[in-house]
Amino acid sequence: MPGRTRASRLPRSDVDPFRETQHAPARGVANEGRMGSAVSLSPNSASPVVELSSATKRYGRVEALRGVSLTIRTGEIVAMLGPNGAGKTTSISLMLGLRQPTGGLVRLFGLPPTDRRARSRAGVMLQESGTTGVLTVRELVELFSTYYPSPLPPGQAIAMAGLDDKADARVATLSGGQRQRLYFALAICGNPEVLFLDEPTVGMDVEARRAFVASTQALATAGKTIVFTTHYLKEAEELARRIIVVDHGLVIADAAPRELMARVAAKRVSFAVSGSLPAEALSGLAVAALDVGNGRVRFLTNEPEVVLRTLFERRVPLEDLEVAGADLEEAVLSLTRRGDQA
């Protein structure tokens, strides 16, 4: 796709982050409208890169996905965010045709994901995959390059993964972080239009992570579509232009990072109360996941200063106050709770 550039993708204030998953197609249309003037679309950009409609997946009695609908279009950089077991890897596996949906429909470039024509255009970095260690990095990348119709020069893929100095090392001798870089090189060596990266930064050290972020951003600038999963809110915020939060097999949020951050209750507040707490003391506060018990009050909030000021004004006797950044599970929990209230 020479000469293609990617439209800038500023967060749109008119995209409602509180809407459920079904808004994805509408967003796609909006994207195309925005891209139209700045971008020369390739002929195949008419069909979305990824399309899941009401996709469900059941492993025995476990429902890993409970009806996920989403559309990912050319040039999007999408983070799938969620706690362990949320259904991120299952979603990616369905998109790649590594697993078949129990119900619903999955399409990659408008084709069944097992279709070789679709797979030829996708690069993949999987969480648990491995390689035999007897080949060198260069040999393995060269080998994988032959699997794709129009690959990158192997040296370029190795350089983009930051493995130049290890190109002639046997795979078995690589450290965990170097191995992740190798898998990244294997993912991009086929010069794919879309990259699927399942937990790409797990096991990477700080330097490798920085190199990875830079390479990913370069690929994004070159117009590639990127779909990656992560547990880390920060990583999703840093790299993605769109964050899809998955929990318990459902998409619970699908928005640009800024809108999502505004929605997530990012601080955890907890304090002890001596004596009895008046019933109205906690009413009307902008908090989520409120929990009162064992003489402690706990909640999540985006505005700890405002909430605490209110509590002081109400002369609630706070003791042993703690304010901390909420972790992802808590943040997701706050999304889920608000979804329940809506």
Binding site: L98, R116, S129, T131, T132, Y147, G190
Partner: protein, 237 residues
């Protein structure tokens, strides 16, 4: 790739030569009553052992190890069809098995003074490679039916007694009586027949041996298919 795994390449190339040194060289210049060179007969035995071991150990341990390391997961996500991957592995193994027989023949000729026409050796190699299908299938059955920790032991437990009982280490006539009665029902025995036939030793009718080998191929492939399907339904359904 196999060259990079000394545990495999040494076992496959050196062991047949070593076994021939111990069991074959002392008799290499003798001739059997029917006029067949005993050296050539024993060399054919260990050539059959070598080809079978490349297949059983190569696929049995190789496939199980790859599955253990989830190499197959990454391969599944590439556009390369699984059948092509398997075909490539089989071709690779056939080439390697051919090399291991050539090494053994050169050793037998140079060190043991075994003399046969070149056409005889070529016929032996062709027969062994063509007849190796049940061992490829057995390798896959072990590779898909067990795990990376079990496969080496399982391959040894199956292949070594099989090779012994089939007369690949010493002629069937030298084996205990009950083993002699079992031998004609074993795949390695009929595999040996192909090799022994090539050097002129009296054998079962070749069609009988091919039928046995074909039957065992089908049996092992059925076991493989069952294990493969079970794994696919767990990993990729």
């Amino acid at each position: 790739m196999r060259w990079r795994i000394p545990a495999f390449s040494l076992t496959s190339l050196a062991l047949p030569v070593l076994f021939f040194t111990f069991f074959g060289l002392p008799f290499a210049r003798q001739t059997l009553p029917n006029g067949v060179s005993l050296g050539a007969f024993l060399l054919a035995s260990f050539a059959a052992y070598a080809v079978g071991s490349v297949m059983v150990y190569g696929f049995g341990i190789g496939v199980a190890t790859e599955r253990g390391m989830k190499v197959d997961l990454l391969m599944r996500a590439t556009p390369v069809p699984s059948a092509i991957v398997i075909l490539a592995k089989v071709l690779n193994a056939l080439v390697f098995a051919g090399i291991s027989v050539v090494v053994l023949i050169v050793y037998g000729v140079v060190v043991g003074g075994v003399r046969q026409d070149l056409t005889v050796w070529i016929a032996m190699i062709v027969r062994l490679l063509a007849g190796s299908m049940p061992f490829i299938a057995l390798g896959f059955a072990i590779g898909y039916g067990s795990g990376p920790n079990v496969a080496p032991a399982l391959a040894n437990l199956i292949y070594l007694p099989l090779a012994f009982a089939s007369g690949l280490f010493m002629p069937v006539s030298q084996l205990p009586g009950f083993v002699q009665r079992i031998a004609p029902y074993l795949p390695a025995y009929h595999f040996g027949q192909l090799a022994w036939g090539a050097v002129g030793a009296r054998t079962e009718p070749i069609l009988t041996s091919l039928a046995w080998l074909g039957g065992y191929t089908v049996l092992f492939l059925l076991i493989t298919a069952r294990a493969y399907r079970r794994e696919q339904s767990l990993k990729f359904s």
